[in-house]
């Protein structure tokens, strides 16, 4: 099935999504990858507030810098499983919408079941995704460069549901994970 939805998702929208569905997102997402997640983890352990609102959608992405005249450089997804160690704590905090690529470990799938949804963007389609971004603002960790947290405004940003609220995993058909 194909959906055109606003992001961050409302829980009523999320419950309609099924693994394998194509979704075109319009709205706001936040980039965060390895180094930002390590900092989130430290912040959560210290009881601090994260730089994006609860209920936000995280995009595992470290973009290329924008050339003059660009909003953002090439900006496809990175591998989700590298964020596995930090993900259950984020779900507990209230961040439960993730866009990346590839399967998660069984512990993350368990943590996501009924509470979180994972989407895949197409790896290596960085310029296609850049063409769907209308604004990019630095939110946190400027010292991390490409690994900083950026708020992106997206329009018709194409992703596929890979893990739905029922716990169905698209990748279970073809991978050992």
């Amino acid at each position: 099935m194909e959906h055109h939805l606003n992001v961050p998702f409302q829980s009523t929208d999320l419950s309609l999504l099924r693994a394998g569905d194509v979704v075109y997102l319009t709205g706001t997402i936040y980039t965060a990858r390895d180094a930002a997640h390590a900092r989130f983890d430290r912040m959560l352990k210290a009881g601090e507030t994260l730089p994006m609102p609860k209920g936000a959608c995280i995009y595992y992405c470290g973009p290329c810098p924008a050339a003059p005249g660009e909003i953002i450089g090439s900006c496809g997804p990175t591998t989700s499983k590298r964020m596995d160690a930090y993900t259950p704590a984020l779900i507990d905090y209230g961040i439960a919408q993730f866009i990346g690529k590839g399967a998660r470990c069984p512990a993350v799938n368990d943590a996501m079941r009924g509470r979180a949804v994972h989407f895949a963007a197409t790896g290596g389609a960085g310029m296609l995704y850049a063409s769907r971004i209308t604004a990019c603002d630095l939110v946190a960790f400027p010292d991390l460069g490409a690994e900083a947290v950026y708020r992106l405004e997206v329009t018709d940003f194409p992703v596929v549901v890979t893990f739905d609220l029922l716990g169905t995993d698209v990748y279970a058909r073809t991978t050992q994970n």
């Binding site: 194509v22 470290g62 050339a67 450089g73 590839g102 460069g145 490409a146 596929v160 990748y171």
Partner: protein
Amino acid sequence: MFFVVFRGNSGLSYGIIYAIISFSVCSYYDCTERRRGSMRIIQAAQLIEPIRRLCLRACCNLPEDAVSALASARERETAGSAARNVLDQLLENQQLARSAFRPICQDTGMAVVFADIGSDVYIEGDIAAAVNEGVRLAYTEGYLRKSVLDPLTRVNTGDNTPAVLHVRFVPGDRVSLTVAPKGFGSENMSRLFMLPPSAGIEGILTHILTTVKDAGASACPPVVVGVGIGGTMESCALLAKRQLLRPLGEPADREDVAAIEREALKRINELGVGPMGLGGAITALAVHAAAEATHIAGLPLAVNIQCHACRHASEEV
């Protein structure tokens, strides 16, 4: 003759004499180089601009053979399938990248540089420094992502240096440069196995298959699989990496190695992982293997996974 006239017109009194001398000792296309006996002499700094150019070209222009492989994979996937949708996006993406001369993928990789240096050329100066300067210029002034850092402190070097430089000495007086930016979605999923000789060809095939299966969607399939067989631990890994530079789908010279390539490709595509792991007929675009002599006690096997963006660019200096 061109140089004689040019220098003469410049009005320098010694210009004509200088031009005649330099014409006799230089090759006609580069007046800055000299010869010492049969040795051609160039400056290391002459490598900076070609390396800068190659980094940008490799990151922004997907080679034609890779584009054709994606287009033919698209034809083999079912109309309306997730697999075909992914391949359509990848073909559109490489076109966007090419026309804007901007990176195909945000992971512009570690710059892996292959320098085949002719034994009749002498490079004056620091080759590694020149290569790194070319990389630095491309990644900073070219708005590519800087992805290189210290493995322990995780502090980024800020300019994507150092490059990984592989030097080989070959006959002739040319320097052949290839830049292959290597993204880590696929590099992370690559494997080295020190197999026992008893594993044989079936063991080789099993381990190639396991590696591609474990890589799943993380390596951004449809992948290209570089396979090194034999050598020592490190030479086997480098042999696997070099296979990623071959024209896509061109079989190995050795028939027994080409047979391994064919069988591995067949079994990989039977996995059904498909483009971006969403299921489909094409999990690998090609398997490129090579064998080199090894020890009586061993059967090293390296499987270097390359994502669908099989990026590299070459030029001769």
